[in-house]
Amino acid sequence: MITGADLLIESLVDEQVDTIFGYPGGAVLPIYDALYRSLAPFKHILSRHEQGSIHAAEGYARVTGKPGIVLATSGPGATNLITGITDALMDSLPLVIFTGQVAKGVIGTDAFQESDVMGITTPITKYNYQVNHVSELPRIIKEAFHIAVTGRPGPVVIDIPKNISQETSPARSQRDFYLPGYQPTKHPNPLQIGKLADALSRSKKPILLTGAGVVTAKASDELKAFAEKYQLPVTNTLLGLGGFPGTSNLSLGMAGMHGTYAANMGIYECDLLINIGARFDDRLTGKLEHFAPDAKVAHIDIDPAEIGKNISTAIPVVGDAKEALKALLNSDIELPDHKAWKEKLEHNKTTYPLWYERSNDVISPQWLTEQVYRMSKGEAIVTTDVGQHQMWAAQHYPFDKPNRWVTSGGLGTMGFGFPAAIGAQLGAPNDLVVALVGDGGFQMTLQELSVLKDRNLPVKVIIVNNEALGMVRQWQESFYEERYSESLLSTNPDFVKLAESYGIRGLRVDKEDDVVEVLEDVFAYDGPVVLDCRVEQKESVYPMIAPGKGIQEMIGVTK
């Protein structure tokens, strides 16, 4: 006989889990006790807030492709995970989250630390379970891992009443499962691939739009081969960065609200738009009626519900991006002459590149981002929060490989970047991990500095410090007549002293002339560093599609 808590540990070993992120509490004490007693070959990372655990698990999932595992107690433990669960659902990251629950006998009585986890998490998970009997636990865990990583990945919650963790069950419990209602389509329909190939053979102005689906499906090599074989121009979404080499001459850069002029005009003027694994988010499309108005739209997606959701699609292809690209590579397509189209795109690319103005003394955040790129030789895993620093990273740090860009796209979560960097470093211990964070977002989860110290993780935290909620400030400047309502952070802490109080090396730089030297020091240092970079406060992210405008109506394209 074996307890539910021990069964849980056994199942995690069975799933070859190497890291779990969590925080103990009353309802999960039996599980933590089992963890203490077991010789399980995985490590537990103690965050300082459950939000830290779950964003770390997201970072881990993004760089490893494996599910991130989270363990939290009932009630407040579970509710502290809500932001991260929603974030993972929006960005299709696989997570398996275990929450403690009060004992079955008192569920529904408003017991101490009870919250309706099933009710709360149903709209923000791919699936969720409450365990009713200890013998179900192994099957449920197997199912949860399967659901989290297959098809379109997403978070799965398993809510475990305390008595279930304590009760015993025969050791070899049922692990087999059958989910007849969940059979994701991996292989695309050949007929639809044929239609796509045919459309490509007739297209004079084709463009590829690539999203996170390419990265998730590990389809980067196939995408590169496909784009190069037919010399197709490629643009990407924010989360698609790294799916196709940003330094390739076929890359037009990112599209959307802060995308490049070449990418957005490419979408505006194309006659065939092939979307691979992106979901036509409104920050990408701008006003729908101006999005690819003259194009035939083909959409490859593993989630059929994404096809036709926002943009009507002439050629739907349901399936895995890798399989679809393989099938397309195997179709012999005769392409018409694209010379004029390519020249036009190239003209846009060279005439209207991303730009910024450098001031002489204060650090330009875009230039800072470029220095991080240059000095990390483009090899770093970069995590960010949401806001200006995120857009500058997306614009000025060209990602050539997948799984090196960890950012909160769909939900736009402040406080994501730093804990995500912890998870990324644990998932990729030999890689350089840089957390590019804003001074606002960093203060939402900076308690996780304790984890850096605990584990001596060599994460380089670079605070792009403009003493403001920069993107809010920019919008107030542009759309609210410079009424900076509650967006200026003049009472920031001394981040150097703060880092030092956690036993972490803290540095500050406020002159451009010193940046290179300080960054050299930061990257050479074998251990965690917090670098407070004082940048120009008044800097804005350009170019931009103003809210409610079409993709062709960019502002700030040139100086």
Binding site: M118, G119, T122, P123, K126, Y127, N128, Q130, N132, I147, L179, P180, G181, Y182, D303, P304, A305, I307, G308, K309, S312
Partner: protein
């Protein structure tokens, strides 16, 4: 446009909540939902009557339903040959003279009186929703004291005509 959509679902805990939650989150306007066990143990059938504004929204609705892990099959049967039924219980005020009249009104609808009290009677009617609504309209002048409806439950007829001649014959 009103659509009748049926779903075959696994009878797991929270499945109704999951589905209504999804419909609510995605702003679909639900007229009625009925749920009950099917011929197979562990499998339930649901019938939704949903108001959707256009074909694109309808497609999104069926896709989102299909995406639910507990849903095995989704069909929009509005334009097919099908049987659709609804049950209504109507308590109408009446005594003496009006009782006889009410009996006369409900007879062509094959409705029946299932309860009587001193000054009211309860009518049970089953049928297509428009028939049920027609009877309710006719009974209204007698004073409806209480009314409850089950919502539509439906499935396809055993045999589908080669060409569906009665497209949109079902007017909900």
């Amino acid at each position: 446009m009103k659509r009748i959509i049926t779903a075959t679902v696994q009878n797991r805990s929270g499945v109704l909540n999951r589905i209504t939650g999804m419909l609510n989150k995605r702003q679909f306007n639900i007229d009625s939902i009925t749920v009950g066990n099917s011929e197979t143990e562990g499998i339930a059938k649901m019938t939704f009557v949903v108001e959707v504004s256009d074909p694109q929204k309808l497609e999104q609705l069926t896709k989102q339903l299909n995406k639910q892990i507990d849903i095995l099959k989704v069909s929009d049967i509005t334009d097919k040959a099908m049987v659709a039924r609804e049950l209504a219980l109507i308590r109408v005020g009446g005594n003496g003279q009006s009782r006889t009249e009410i009996q006369g009104v409900i007879a062509p609808f094959r409705a029946s009186v299932i309860d009587l009290s001193k000054d009211s009677l309860t009518v049970q009617v089953t049928g297509k929703p428009d028939k049920v609504d027609a009877l309710i309209t006719l009974l209204r002048p007698y004073g409806i004291k209480e009314l409850t409806k089950t919502g539509v439950t439906a499935f396809l007829r055993g045999q589908q005509p080669q060409q569906v001649t009665e497209i949109n014959s079902f007017s909900v």
